[in-house]
Structure formats: C-alpha cells, structure tokens
C-alpha cells in the first residue's frame, strides 16, 4: 500500500473557492475531506455535489461526521469523529463507503481496530494553528499508536512536507493536511510538494530481490553495473540475470533497476 495523502478543508473558505481548490489539488492527493463543522447537512450536500462537478472523483471525497450526506451525495467515504455515531452502529448502513476514525489517544486505537476502520486519523502530532494551546502528541505517541494498529494510521496536525520522513519512520501510513494545503496561497503547489516528499521517501523504500534476498536500494536510475559495484563485483567474472533474462556484459551499465526486480548474480570464483 502506498503512503496516503489526505487534504482537509479548513472551515474558513466559501464553497466557490473551496471547490476550485479541490479541483486544483485532487490529482496530487488520495482523499479530500469536507470538514465544515458549522455547516448544515443540506449545505454539505451542495459541497459534495460542487466538488464532483468541479471534477473531483467521487471516491476521493470524504464527508466529515455525516454518513447521511456522504450516502446521499455519492461521496467515497465518511470520517467519524469522537463525537460522531460510533462506527459499529453506522456499519450496517455503510454500503461500499470507506470509513475513517479520528483518534486522539493511543488507547482508542485498539477500539478503532476492533471496529475495522479503513484508516485512523491520529493527532495532532505537531503544533498547529487549528489547535492552539493544546500540547501536540509528538512522534513517540504516534509510534505507539502505529505499533498498536493493523489499520493504517494517518498522522494529522501541523505536518509539513519535511516531516514526512520522520512520520513515516514512526510507522504512519499517511498524512492528513488542513491549512498546509487548503489555506495555502498556491494549494496545487502545496499539494504537489507533499506528494513529491512522499515519492522521495517511497524511492528510499524501494526493494529488489538479489539472489533470493529482499534488498533495499536507495538510488534512482541505479544500473546493474552500479549494483555490482556496491557488492565490490564491478569488472569481476559474473553472470547477471534480471527477471529471468541474462544481461549481456556490454549492457550492464545501461540496464537500470526497477522496484521489485529479481536479480541473480553468480560470480565465478577460482579457489578450491
């Protein structure tokens, strides 16, 4: 599963601006949450419809709290908060909708797992303008939550693109961003920068199978020759096979390695 990026509306924009922002960012994110606590169910319904009209794919739209709106408007899912109707009770009515749970205490993570949430929004991790004066949970608590959860834990709260590495290292399977995207002067550029940061971390996460063993590689455009060099085998008497095909000697420096490649290297040694 890839690392998720959720964008969340801030509750401060009018519909026209919010829907044009959603249209501009949707290609960079996995989900857009409509979190407009002050608005009525009827207004939220218009929001979902406006987002869909603006070109946001329905399955990317998540309605905060209101399953009825999500169902009626054909959204992709619902985000249940700690004051929503519990997931256990709404499950019979969910149909194909995704359901995320918002959790603020590591102790509540187990409960969201029992209820088989599709993801858990956990935070806030860093200091954030939306929760002034409340102490952030920090990475250690995030790690405890992620460790305790089979359900993907999505970190939320004050997350900037440069935080993605440490948040991912703590075990989060995604990040959710509010003002960092929807309150940005250039939301598309902001969403793109989060996406870029995530991709960079996923490249660092690339694995290939060398001689039957899963091996992390951290370089883009790595050639077989460079891989051989990393094993001190450059220029040595070796035969290399990639995904079942032998790589001719003159192509070792031209053949690049992709995620998941299966590589076999046999070195001719002399001893005996």
């Amino acid at each position: 599963m890839t690392f998720q990026l959720h964008a969340i509306t801030t509750g401060t924009l009018e519909l026209a601006q919010a829907s044009s922002t959603a249209a501009a960012i949707h290609s960079f994110v996995d989900y857009i949450h409509i979190r407009e606590k002050q608005r009525s169910a009827r207004e939220l319904l218009y929001w979902v419809e406006a987002f869909r009209k603006a070109g946001v794919p329905a399955e990317k739209i998540i309605v905060n709290d209101r399953l009825d709106v999500a169902l009626a408007a054909g959204a992709g899912g619902v985000q249940l908060t700690e004051s929503s109707v519990p997931l256990k009770q709404v499950r019979p009515f969910l149909r194909q909708l995704a359901a995320g749970c918002s959790v603020h205490e590591p102790a509540a993570v187990a409960h969201a797992n029992e209820e088989r949430a599709d993801w858990i929004l956990f935070g806030h991790i860093y200091d954030t303008a939306s929760k002034p004066g409340r102490k952030p949970r920090g990475l250690e608590t995030l790690q405890a939550a992620a460790y305790a959860s089979r359900v993907p834990v999505i970190a939320i709260g004050g997350i900037k693109p440069h935080h993605i590495r440490e948040v991912k290292a703590a075990g989060a399977k995604g990040v959710a961003v509010m003002s960092g995207i929807f309150a940005s002067k250039d939301p598309a550029a902001a969403a793109a920068s989060y996406q870029t940061a995530i991709k960079k971390e996923e490249i660092n996460d690339m694995h290939i199978v060398v001689n039957g063993k899963s091996t992390p590689i951290s370089l883009q455009e790595l050639t077989i020759e460079e891989l051989l060099a990393s094993y001190s085998l450059q220029g040595k008497a070796v035969i290399v096979e990639i995904n079942g095909h032998i790589v001719p000697k003159e192509r070792l420096g031209l053949t690049t390695i992709q995620e998941g490649d299966r590589i076999e290297i046999v070195q001719f040694v002399g001893g005996g």
Partner: protein
C-alpha cells in the same frame, strides 16, 4: 537389502550403476578431497587423482582426507589421499599421480583410459580451461566447482549440449579472490562439492534428464542462493566447443612456466616437458650448504636463500614465502640450471 550400497540403490532404484565407471579428478585439495571421498564411498570402479601439491598444516582445516601425520611427512596429496581412500573402500581402483595437471599430463591420462567424467578439484582457472578443452576434445562431461570465503559455485558442462566454460567466460578471469586473500571456511567446500557430487552421481548413473542445467552459486555467510540458466550463453564461434574449435588451452608452450598457488604464498616453477630429476643426487648436493635438507621418497625440501623450496621428482619446484614468479624462476635456474 543390506549390501554395502543398499541405501544408495534404494534411492536410485537401480543396482550399483557405478562399478564400471572411471572418474579423472583433477586436484586433491579441499574440493578434491570431498569429491574423492564421495565417489569412493559410492563405490566407483576407478578413480584417477592428479595433484601437484603436498599436505601442509594449513590444509587440515578443510581438506578432509588428510591428517597431522600427512602434514608432518609432507606427503604428496595424491598419495595421502589414496592411502586414506583405500582405507575407506578397498574395492576401488585408485591411481595417484603427483604432477602438475598441464595439457600434456592430462591428455596422456585421457588417451590411456578415457574417463566417464572429469571432475574439477582445482584451485585455478588456468587448469579449469585445460579441463574444459579436454572435455570438448574427448567429449567427456566435466563439473566446474569452486569456492572461496563462504561462497561456492558450480556448473555442469556436457559437450554437445550445454555451453562450455569458454562460452560463459570469454577471458581467463584474474585470480582476484583466492583462498589466499579471502580465506575459506569448510562448509563452503562441502556445499560446493554437494552440488558437484550430486551431478557426478547423476551423470555416472546415466540420469541425463535430471542434470542441473544452471550455474548455481551459494553464500553460506550472507545466506543467499542464486541460479542462472546458462542455455542461452552457448557461443556459435566458441574456440573450445564450436564446430571450429581449436582447443586453445591444450597448446603446450615449450618454456618454464610459473604459477602462484592459491592460499599458499607459494610459486610453482614448472620446467618445459618432463625433466626427470634424481632427487637423492640433488639432496646430496644441497646438503653441502644446507643441513635442513629432507626427503620422503616423493619430494625433497630444503632452505635456499632464506626460502623453503620443495622439489618433486617430475622436476617441479615450489618456492614458499614468495608470490613473485620471476624471483622463483631465478632461484630455480640457479639451483637446477
């Protein structure tokens, strides 16, 4: 079924297919020791072992046929191996030859009685390429095996069917990694000979359909296993196995040759053609300057110019404590002209 080979026959579902088979084993070091013991226990009819070296204390850690007395006596490996192997199975006919396995020596052995299989127990690529050419010329399969450190590699080469070593390796690899520089652990030897030995038993039982048609490599320390199908690597213009083969490694050069021995900090000097020496005469000559001269019926050892030298009956000399072929050649010429 309680005969000597009953467990093997139970597996093979065939009565002793090895009784009339003959294997020529080149090298009686670590690989050679293990291979020889497997074949002799399996009850092979005839085993010919050729090796150029003698038993040294550094061999005992992994060369399973030898003991402390063999090292104390500096017994030639072929002789020490034969002694131990006949204790294991007296029914096997074993010939021990202490000589450098050059093209001439090996060709003579092939002509004398062509074996059913050539087995690689050598420690260098030069000899392996000679074996490879002989295998093609005489149409006898051979099994490449080599090990260093915790790695082992093996490949079966069947003339007319699989690519040959020259197809797989277009140049003689530099002996970068040897037991000398990287060391070796005994399990790497055993793993390599397990692959070679299994293929030998298949070939000698005529089970061609079961033969491994892959180059296989294992690293017992890094816990990796790899295998590559080599079929596509057969070269139409290979100098060793194509229709226009010239067997380049069988061309004997008529000059003194030297070789740095794997794992020994030793250079071997080999005179052109077989120059027979009278060892007792040379011993008497050397004793005038050096009291440490020793003989054991197969070889002579002495200390000359601060270097320990060992001289074999076939005229070869080992110069210990040196990796410089030129220095060794000079010493040889100074002593023996």
């Amino acid at each position: 079924m309680n005969s000597r080979y009953s467990r093997q026959e139970l597996f093979l579902k065939e009565e002793h297919p090895y009784a009339n088979k003959h294997v020529l084993l080149v090298g009686a070091g670590a690989l050679g020791s293990a291979l020889a013991e497997m074949l002799v226990r399996a009850g092979i009819g005839q085993l010919t072992i050729i090796d150029r070296d003698y038993v040294d204390w550094t061999n005992l850690q992994r060369q399973q046929l030898y003991n402390e007395q063999d090292a104390r006596d500096s017994l030639p490996k072929a002789e020490a191996a034969k002694k131990r192997l006949q204790e294991i199975n007296s029914d096997v006919s074993i010939s021990a030859i202490t000589a450098d396995a050059g093209p001439q020596e090996l060709s003579a052995l092939m002509d004398e009685k062509c074996p059913d299989l050539l087995l690689d127990g050598t420690d260098n690529f030069e000899t392996r390429f000679i074996i490879n050419d002989l295998s093609q010329k005489y149409q006898v399969p051979w099994i490449y095996g080599a090990c260093v450190g915790s790695q082992g590699v093996s490949c079966v080469i069947v003339p007319g069917e699989t690519p040959c070593l020259a197809c797989l390796l277009d140049v003689l690899p530099a002996e970068g990694m040897t037991c000398d520089t990287a060391g070796i652990i005994a399990p790497a030897v055993q793993m390599t000979t397990a692959f070679q030995g299994a293929e030998a038993l298949k070939i000698l039982a005529g089970r061609w359909e079961d033969i491994r048609r892959e180059l296989v490599g294992v690293d017992l320390w890094k816990n990796t296993y790899s295998s590559i199908s080599t079929v596509s690597l057969k070269k139409a213009d290979c100098p060793s196995c194509s229709d226009t083969a010239v067997y380049p490694y069988l061309t004997e050069e008529n000059q003194t040759k030297t070789a740095v021995l794997c794992g020994r900090n030793t250079v071997q000097v080999r005179p052109p053609n077989n120059r027979a020496f009278n060892l007792p005469e040379i011993a008497a000559m050397l004793k005038q300057w050096d009291a440490s001269v020793k003989m054991n019926g197969f070889l002579l050892s002495a200390i000359v110019s601060g270097k320990r030298i060992v001289l074999f009956q076939d005229g070869r000399m080992l110069v210990h404590g040196s990796k410089d072929p030129e220095e060794a050649k000079k010493l040889y010429q100074r002593l023996l002209g």
